[in-house]
């Protein structure tokens, strides 16, 4: 499926389940995404991680509703519990099947997102290893001067932002040097197709979700 449309569908689903209280649709969506992920041959370990990672916040929400709120509404507790898993699994359906570059290219070509947003963000993402290293170095610099920089220390953020200012300057200049000009048309080496099939999948999925949400209990 076209990456932009996949994202669109997942966002629509996330919005819709946020504003409805319907256990069936949540369970159906989780089941469908699991099947989808299985057909894409996702590693079993990742499934374990997808189940475990949101467990803590999901339980927190569950017990708040079920035990500690006036109505003791167990049904609603399950709705909220499963809702978190809908977010995580549908999210994984994108991140596990589409590369950042494919998504970026699709957003640029199919949804006509200005390329400076698409590639600017992508360039920043590619610096994540360096950001992590830098945060480590800043904390080491602190320790060697006898101060401990914890995650609420203004100095830690200040120093990291100083780096970000330099990097954004360097990266923007490097991208320009590689021929990039803001707001100018670009060609594309790979055309990301947007077919009738994509439209069909999107529309049919949305209709099916409405039917289950409003027609089934």
């Amino acid at each position: 499926m076209n990456p932009s449309f996949k994202l669109l569908l997942v966002l629509i689903i996330a919005l819709e389940v946020s504003f409805t209280r319907h256990l069936t649709i949540n369970l159906v969506l989780i089941a469908v995404t699991i099947i989808y992920l299985l057909t894409k041959r996702i590693r079993p370990r990742l499934f374990g991680w997808l189940f475990l990672m949101p467990l803590f916040p999901a339980i927190a929400v569950f017990i708040t509703i079920a035990w500690f709120s006036p109505g003791h509404d167990y049904f609603y507790a399950w709705v909220l519990f499963s809702r978190i898993y809908v977010y995580v699994f549908t999210g994984a359906a994108i991140t596990q099947t589409t590369s950042p570059l494919e998504l970026t290219r699709s957003l640029e070509q199919n949804l006509h997102l200005p390329s400076k947003f698409a590639y600017g963000t992508l360039a920043a993402v590619n610096l994540i290893p360096r950001i992590k290293m830098t945060v480590k170095t800043i904390r080491a610099a602190g320790q060697m001067r006898g101060i401990y920089l914890s995650w609420w220390s203004p100095t830690l953020y200040f120093k990291a932002i100083l780096h970000a200012i330099t990097w954004s300057d360097q990266l923007a200049q490097a991208m320009e040097s590689h021929g990039y000009v803001e707001d100018r048309a670009r060609t594309s080496v790979h055309q990301i197709a947007l077919t009738t099939r994509d439209w069909l999948i999107l529309i049919v999925s949305i209709i099916l979700i409405q039917i289950i949400t409003f027609a089934l209990p």
Binding site: L7, V10, L11, L15, F19, W49, M53, P54, F56, P57, A60, V61, I63, T64, I65, W67, F68, S69, P70, G71, Y76, A77, R83, Y87, T90, G91, I94, T95, Q96, P100, L103, K116, F117, Y119, G120, T121, L122, A124, V125, L127, I128, I131, V135, W151, W152, P154, L156, Y157, F158, A160, I161, L162, A164, I165, S168, D169, L171, A172, M175, Y180
Partner: protein, 192 residues
């Protein structure tokens, strides 16, 4: 006074995305806080308190971006591009975060809008603290079932306001003061 350039250029976009990602990276170093606070507050029958007390940390990139670039749209982009960046690296909360990123972005933007994009000072910080608290709380009202919590919402709302005030108000202002004193954001010294 010269006309202010309110357009976002490539460099601004990279910077905003980087700031968002930096806050995300540091947040994950403190992710245990959410769990620890939840465990502490559950016996007090307030399990969601961890969510409310750490919420400010999630929303820092927005006001920070506003203070740094002092342009309409910067708070929204700072918050949203950070979330988009996390979604792009395949973070498992990614796609869902895109929506909360947008909500939080609008929330912090609103504080600067209400003060006419003229108050990059305490007033702006307080305004964005309040709008971020109200908007994200309203969002959780539907999304995380806060509509069911009854009078306990008084505690949750207060907890969130406190967290927003500390992280998005006090901490962001402290960072902003360091940046201001260092003159590092004065890129256009000649253009005044």
């Amino acid at each position: 006074m010269a006309k202010k350039n309110n357009k976002f250029h490539l460099r601004d976009i990279i910077l905003l995305a980087l700031v968002g990602i930096i806050f995300g990276v540091i947040y994950w170093a403190a992710a245990f806080m959410y769990n620890a606070l939840t465990i502490v507050f559950t016996p007090l029958k307030l399990p969601m308190m961890g969510n409310d007390l750490t919420m400010g940390l999630w929303c820092m990139a927005g006001p920070m971006a506003g203070f740094m670039l002092k342009k309409p749209g910067a708070p929204f982009l700072g918050e949203f591009l950070g979330a988009a960046g996390e979604a792009l690296i395949g973070d498992q909360w990614g796609a869902a975060n895109l929506i909360s990123g947008a909500v939080q972005g609008i929330a912090s933007e609103l504080g600067f809008t209400l003060t006419g994009y003229k108050h990059y000072d305490w007033l702006g910080a307080v305004a964005t603290t309040i709008t971020t608290t109200i908007v994200t709380f309203a969002w959780d009202w539907f999304r995380n079932g806060y509509n069911k919590f009854g009078f306990k919402n008084v505690y949750y709302f207060s907890g969130r306001l406190l967290s927003m005030f500390f992280f998005c108000g006090v901490l962001v202002m402290l960072i902003e003061r360091l940046l201001e004193r260092s003159h590092v954001m004065k890129r256009e010294e000649f253009n005044d």
